[in-house]
C-alpha cells in the first residue's frame, strides 16, 4: 500500500486544483472572455469538411481505441459534435467505425443531435456509425480497408491511440485525405505530427470543446489551467532552489526520496 502521506498530498493538490478551476469557470462571463491563441487543428476542421464536400467524398471520424470511460474519448465526442454539425450543414456523410459498443451508441446520439441542430434530421444515417471490433488490429484492418475503398477526403483521429496510430495516419495520407489528429498519448503524438496535416497536442484535445463552443464558463476553465500551470512552475522553481541549498522540506512533503 502506498504511504498515506502521498494520498494526503494528492488530496490537497486535488482540492486546490478543483477550487482554482471552479473559481475561474464561474467567474468568467460573456463580456470578459479570456484571450486564447488559435489552435490550427481546430480552425482546419471547417476547411477539411469543405474539402470533402467539394470532392463529394465522406469524412471519417475515429474516436480512439478506448471506451467511453476514458476522458480522451469524451473529448473526442465533443469534437465529433462540432464536426458532425458542420458535415450536416454541408450535407457530407460522416463514417465512424467504433471499437466499443457504448462509444458507438453515444456517437450515434451525438451525430443525431448535431443533425437536428443543423436543421437536417433527414440526412442522419445511423448505419454510418457502427461497431467493428474491440480487437486493436482487427479494427485497424477494417479501417485501413475502408480508407482504401471509400477514399474519405477528411480523416479525423481524436482520442486515445496506441500502436495503430501510424498505420491509420499513413494509410490516410496515402489516400490523399486531409488529416486532423488529436491525442493525449505522449508516445503517439510524434506519429500524428509527421503523418497528419494538423495535430492537437496533449491538452489541446481537452481544450477543443471549450474553443469550439465559445462557452464563457468552459473558456474560463482553460484560463484556470494556465494559472495551475504557473503554480506548479513556481513549486518547481522553489523545489530546485531549496534542494540546491540542502533544504528538503518540499521533497519530504511531496513524498519523494
Amino acid at each position: 500500500m502506498p504511504p498515506v502521506l502521498d494520498h494526503a498530498t494528492v488530496f490537497v493538490a486535488m482540492i486546490v486544483l478543483c477550487a482554482i478551476i471552479l473559481y475561474y469557470t464561474f467567474k468568467t462571463t460573456a463580456g470578459k472572455l479570456p484571450k486564447l491563441r488559435t489552435i490550427a487543428g481546430l480552425s482546419a476542421i471547417d476547411e477539411a469538411i469543405g474539402r470533402a464536400t467539394e470532392l463529394g467524398k465522406p469524412a471519417l471520424f475515429i474516436s480512439g481505441l478506448s471506451d467511453i470511460d476514458n476522458i480522451q474519448t469524451l473529448a473526442a465526442l465533443s469534437i465529433l459534435s462540432y464536426v458532425a454539425q458542420k458535415a450536416a450543414e454541408y450535407d457530407t456523410p460522416i463514417i465512424m467505425p467504433n471499437v466499443y459498443s457504448v462509444t458507438m451508441v453515444t456517437a450515434q446520439e451525438v451525430v443525431r443531435e448535431a443533425h437536428l441542430r443543423a436543421g437536417r434530421p433527414d440526412t442522419y444515417r445511423p448505419d454510418n456509425i457502427y461497431y467493428v471490433s474491440d480487437e486493436q488490429f482487427a479494427f485497424v484492418a477494417h479501417t485501413s480497408g475502408l480508407m482504401e475503398r471509400e477514399r474519405p477526403a477528411a480523416n479525423f483521429y481524436m482520442g486515445s491511440f496506441f500502436g495503430e496510430s501510424l498505420i491509420l495516419a499513413e494509410t490516410g495520407n496515402a489516400t490523399g485525405a486531409i488529416q486532423i489528429a488529436g491525442t493525449a498519448e505522449t508516445a503517439q503524438i510524434p506519429f500524428f505530427v509527421v503523418a497528419c496535416d494538423y495535430c492537437l497536442i496533449g491538452e489541446e484535445l481537452y481544450a477543443a470543446s471549450a474553443v469550439l463552443s465559445q462557452d464563457p464558463r468552459q473558456l474560463g476553465s482553460i484560463k484556470a489551467q494556465d494559472v495551475v500551470k504557473l503554480l506548479i512552475f513556481a513549486v518547481m522553481i522553489i523545489g530546485c532552489v531549496s534542494e540546491t541549498f540542502g533544504a528538503h522540506f518540499l521533497m519530504n512533503w511531496l513524498g519523494g526520496s
Partner: protein, 215 residues
C-alpha cells in the same frame, strides 16, 4: 472510488466500493450475453438477406462457432492412464492452438506494418527544410547511431574517443533521450493531467455536455 483512494484504510468505504464493483461485474456479464445474442442475430440476418458483404458475416458466424466449440467447454484428456481436465483456453487444447496459430499471427502481421510505415514517415519528416527540421534530423541521427554498436565503432575509428573520452555517441543518445526529450514529454504530460482534471470537473458539473450531443 475516489473516496476509497484517499481513505484506503476505512473498512466501510472499502466495503461499499467492493459492492459497487461487484454490481458492475454482474451487469457486465449480462451485457456480454445480450451483446453476444445481438451479434449472432444481426449477422445471421445479414447472411439470410444476402446484404452487401454478407460473406464476411458468414465467416464471422463460422469462426465464432468453431472457436466457441473448442474454447468454452472443458476438455478431458487421458494420457498414460492419467485423466486431466483442461479449460478450453488452456495450453494443449484446440482453443489455445486457434489463439496461438490464427489470432496471434494475424495481429502480428498487422502490427508489422508499422515498421514499413515508420520508414515512409521518417523519409518525409527528416527532410531538412528549416532549422527545426534540421535539428530533428540531427537528433534522430544521433539517437539512431548511438543506439547501435556501429555508432560507437565509427566514433572510435575516427579517433574521436581520444578527444571526447567516454562522451561518445551512445552517451549523447542517452543524454538526448533522458534530458531534452524527457523534459518535453513531462511538460506535455503536465498539461494533459491538468486538462484531464479540468475536463472531468466540467463533465461532472454538467458544464460541458457536448460529449452527449448537448450544447
Amino acid at each position: 472510488m475516489l473516496v476509497d483512494y484517499f481513505f484506503p484504510r476505512t473498512p466501510v468505504i472499502h466495503g461499499t466500493r467492493e459492492i459497487f464493483l461487484n454490481w458492475g461485474r454482474i451487469a457486465v456479464t449480462f451485457a456480454m450475453i445480450l451483446g453476444l445474442i445481438n451479434l449472432l442475430f444481426s449477422n445471421f440476418k445479414k447472411v439470410m438477406l444476402q446484404s452487401r458483404g454478407w460473406i464476411y458475416n458468414l465467416i464471422l458466424l463460422v469462426s465464432f462457432a468453431v472457436t466457441f466449440y473448442f474454447s468454452v467447454p472443458y476438455h478431458t484428456i487421458v494420457k498414460d492412464g492419467a485423466v486431466t481436465t483442461l479449460k478450453g483456453t488452456d495450453a494443449g487444447t484446440v482453443g489455445f492452438q486457434i489463439f496461438m496459430n490464427v489470432y496471434t499471427p494475424l495481429s502480428a502481421t498487422m502490427f508489422a506494418l508499422v515498421a514499413f510505415f515508420i520508414a515512409s514517415v521518417a523519409f518525409r519528416a527528416f527532410r531538412a527544410k528549416n532549422i527545426e527540421a534540421l535539428l530533428l534530423l540531427l537528433s534522430a541521427a544521433v539517437v539512431m547511431l548511438g543506439s547501435v554498436p556501429l555508432g560507437d565503432a565509427w566514433f572510435a575509428a575516427l579517433h574521436l574517443d581520444s578527444v571526447f573520452g567516454t562522451h561518445n555517441l551512445s552517451w549523447l543518445s542517452n543524454f538526448v533521450q533522458s534530458v531534452p526529450m524527457s523534459a518535453a514529454q513531462r511538460a506535455i504530460n503536465l498539461g494533459v493531467a491538468i486538462g484531464m482534471v479540468s475536463m472531468s470537473i466540467k463533465i461532472l458539473g454538467g458544464i460541458d455536455r457536448s460529449y452527449f450531443g448537448g450544447e
